[in-house]
Subunit: 521 residues, 2 copies
């Protein structure tokens, strides 16, 4: 179980076929492997030792694939950096992970120069330009101790043999977004990520005929996991710098994309795009989504626009490499015996035991709400340099997700809410997702987010932010009365904001409720 | 990576659906798990400790599934016994593996009583009757120290919790047939067999809609591997006591079997069966085969009779858990760009590196014939209590198969012959398989085997044993002249035996050339 083996296998099977496509750049499997082996050689030349960390700061680009494989090939571990973080947090992560080398797109040079003095473990920054990745940058020279050119590094290096790290060896440290407190470094092993790849292939029928569009951030653990899964499957990889509705639609048409991963918000934006019908999406076969479930009303619309596409939901978290459950495509229907499962995040994936426990971590029965816990080969090795946090979240092999939910008698898991996000209003728990699902049933609604805002009497009050579809009209009080009718008074929003601009989403497409909350503190 | 986890997952997903079917016996997933947990409890009551070996002597039956899972559930390791071995060899294996407990079908009581005095590590024999497995045998009592009833053991035991052995823990010791010298015990871990299950599922599209017919011996490593794969996939398992052409055809019709594993000899016998057309095989979707490749002429006939079935070849050996390469279904065609690969055993499976080495174990180039070597998570832990033999076959993680072959530029592996089986006639190597393929092209030929027999001048001479199809006629000299035309003189048989009875096959369906050779010593 070496992640790098998947690449060798593809080269043997598909040597001259396309591995990576990035706008006009087309990289074959053999070219990809050669560059990986040269990057590995270059990193070794710089002094990289087994388990040394190498970080990456970039938007999606082919170099991200080279980074993921080249660092592992050299025996190191990857630290992909969230490119939206402020300099101080980047410096914190580099120091905490004791990263020695940073590969970065020139675009981020100003950011990097802003924190370079604070990143004391960092020995070298290796810059590339994502707009000319495959042309050797003849002008690039080793300018300073901390600033060398990526293409020079590769150009001067001998291809290294795969150092064959694998199994329990560390493959990477993935820093969680840290909505509360400082970010934590999730250590995932080769075995963790190989296992996720096998499950992903089994679940979505990924193979060498797959043309996969990487449109979500590769710096996220899910992005890295998709890189490893697609290379394991031998898929052709289409890379977009970032998610944009029109670019995604255009790429699906242009490259005859068969498969991609999105979050429900993104899927809804795709099908609501005014120019949706202008694109030929007939090659599309499957969309996987995560981060939240798909409201029934949204799915109805999505299925109407994309009737030939099968949908799969995955649930998990970085600490689970990242998938623990799958809702299979057969449950993405509106009628028949398989309907009615849409609000579930599915059932345990291969190798996963999933259970629900109470605050004392005693196992609960079917239907009882508690914390979701997962055991299996996808459970992380631990938090980097944080044994206390590791011991808190993992006990006897069970990882406690912090998500509240229940499991029905057939093993379907339903997430009620992030335990810490639940609105507690007048002492009563209200699951934001339930209110959101209710609001999404309104024909006029394009997007919504529900969260608690401070209230003098109830401590928190349920609040909704709503974006309407183009040419739709709806008032705040209509939203509230719709909810009162369907949910009763106490779960209904006390206040509603209807706004024109889209909701703020994170790099991974999650609606950033923290951003929205700020306006109400 | 616990093999037992697959069973728990099925129970959660398919509690009341059929897990095992054996003639009139129908066992649900929940019943299966309960019996597994009780068998585990019973074995613990008898004193079983972690890693203790438990052996099985039986034809295929539901108890074989209970044995595979119950022993692992209890923390032990399985030792499935070849039920065709003479008493002395069984005693040797039990002693060598230091097996403490033996579960056996009453049918084998005489055999067991014949060697009981010689099996010194054995503490208990636990008998069951495969004809009444699910009825509690009220008459069964603990008769002697070495003879208790399986149903009593289960009836008196409390269900045990899964002891959660997994990963590198030993799952079983599989004794090789030992064509030369004493049998060797191949130690396979949970990880070895879990990996094989994942690869098998990916390769043959096995899932919960699969109805799988276990018609080859479950005592073989491939049989155990299929048990674990099918439980991982959640397939319904139809069990036949042993392979018989009519029983297999009847079972496929009766149970609407979708998938099974055979060897090419068996497949050819199926389609050549006079009553073939009397059976409805329309639900059959896939046949996997191994042990040898499928001659082009045989495939042509098979595809004519089973045009709706997809074929997959697997190549490997017990030491490889057991699969290392797969020839995918797309290559089982007679024309088009994918044709012409039939004599290949396919390409490396997920996680496998495959290479060809010379006698000094140096890597050879594409097209050069040498020994096939395999590295990856399927390589056995080693030979039980035989570090010398282990060191001889495994070097730097590479397992040396003893098979001669080459790999083409696209990674397809071609087996030339078992190194030790090749006919060396007048100093020239002749690959038996090449001669066999040539003879199979004759319309009159149903089965054939080619091997070397002693010859005063050439040391060995090429000899062929041929079985004709019903109502066909053909002479020895016609066979020889056919080969001379297509292969040239030196590779052609010097002598041919045309016989009426079918060729002797091993429990796994391999033609037993050793048996045939005996007549010529």
């Amino acid at each position: 179980m070496h992640l790098t083996q998947g690449l060798r296998r593809c080269v043997e099977r598909r040597r001259d076929e396309l591995a990576l496509v990035f706008d006009e750049q087309k990289i074959s499997w053999e070219q990809f492997e050669t560059r990986v082996a040269k990057l590995a050689g270059g990193l070794r030349d710089l002094g990289l030792q087994a388990d040394d960390r190498v970080a990456m700061l970039a938007h999606n680009c082919p170099e991200y694939f080279e980074f993921n494989y080249g660092v592992l090939w050299a025996g190191g571990a990857i630290v992909p950096l969230n490119n939206k973080l402020p300099p101080d947090q980047l410096a914190y992560i580099l120091n905490h992970s004791q990263t020695r080398f940073l590969i970065a797109d020139e675009e981020f040079r100003p950011v990097i120069e802003g924190f370079l003095g604070k990143a004391s473990s960092l020995e070298q920054v290796i810059y590339f330009s994502s707009t000319s990745a495959l042309e050797l940058n003849k002008q690039g020279k080793v300018e300073t101790m901390k600033n060398i050119s990526y293409e020079d590094l590769l150009g001067n290096a001998n291809p290294l043999e795969d150092q064959l790290r694998g199994y329990e060896d560390m493959a990477g440290i993935f820093y969680t977004s840290g909505t509360t407190g400082t970010p934590k470094g999730v250590v995932l092993s080769h075995r963790n990520l190989v296992w996720n790849s096998m499950g992903g292939m089994l679940n979505t029928d990924l193979d060498e005929s797959t043309v996969y569009l990487h449109a979500t951030p590769l710096f996220h653990a899910a992005g890295s996991a998709r890189i490893f899964t697609m290379i394991s499957a031998g898929a052709t990889n289409i890379i977009l710098p970032k998610f944009e509705v029109i670019s995604v639609l255009a790429a699906i048409e242009r490259y005859r994309v068969t498969s991609l991963l999105l979050v429900p918000t993104m899927i809804v934006r795709l099908v609501n795009e005014a120019k949706f019908d202008a694109y030929d999406l007939s090659y599309l076969r499957s969309i996987a989504y995560g981060a939240s479930s798909m409201p029934q009303a949204a799915l109805a619309e999505v299925l109407k626009k994309l009737p030939h596409v099968s949908f799969t939901q995955a649930y998990g978290m970085t600490e689970l490499s990242p998938s623990a459950t799958f809702l299979e495509s057969r449950y993405h229907v509106l009628e028949g015996p398989d309907a009615g499962r849409l609000l579930s995040c599915g059932r345990a994936t291969w190798g996963a035991d999933v259970r629900i426990v109470n605050e004392q971590r005693e196992v609960l029965s079917a239907g009882e709400v508690g914390e979701i816990a997962v055991r299996g080969p996808m459970v992380m090795q631990g938090y980097w340099r944080n044994p206390e946090a590791t011991a808190e979240i993992i006990e006897d092999g069970w990882l406690h997700t912090g998500d509240a939910g229940y499991k029905d008698a057939e093993g379907f898991v339903y997430i009620v809410d992030r335990i810490k996000d639940m609105v507690i209003t007048g002492g009563v728990n209200v699951a934001s997702i339930e209110v959101e699902n209710c609001i999404y049933q309104m024909d006029e609604v394009a997007e919504c987010a529900v969260f608690g805002i401070p209230h003098p009497d109830w401590i928190e009050a349920v609040h909704a932010v709503v974006v309407l579809k183009p040419n739709s009209a709806c008032t705040e009080s209509q939203v509230i009365s719709h909810c009162k009718t369907h949910l009763g008074v106490y779960k209904s929003p006390r206040s509603v904001e209807i706004r024109e601009q889209a909701l703020p989403v994170s790099g991974t497409g999650k609606i950033m409720k923290n951003e929205l909350r700020k306006n109400y503190q």
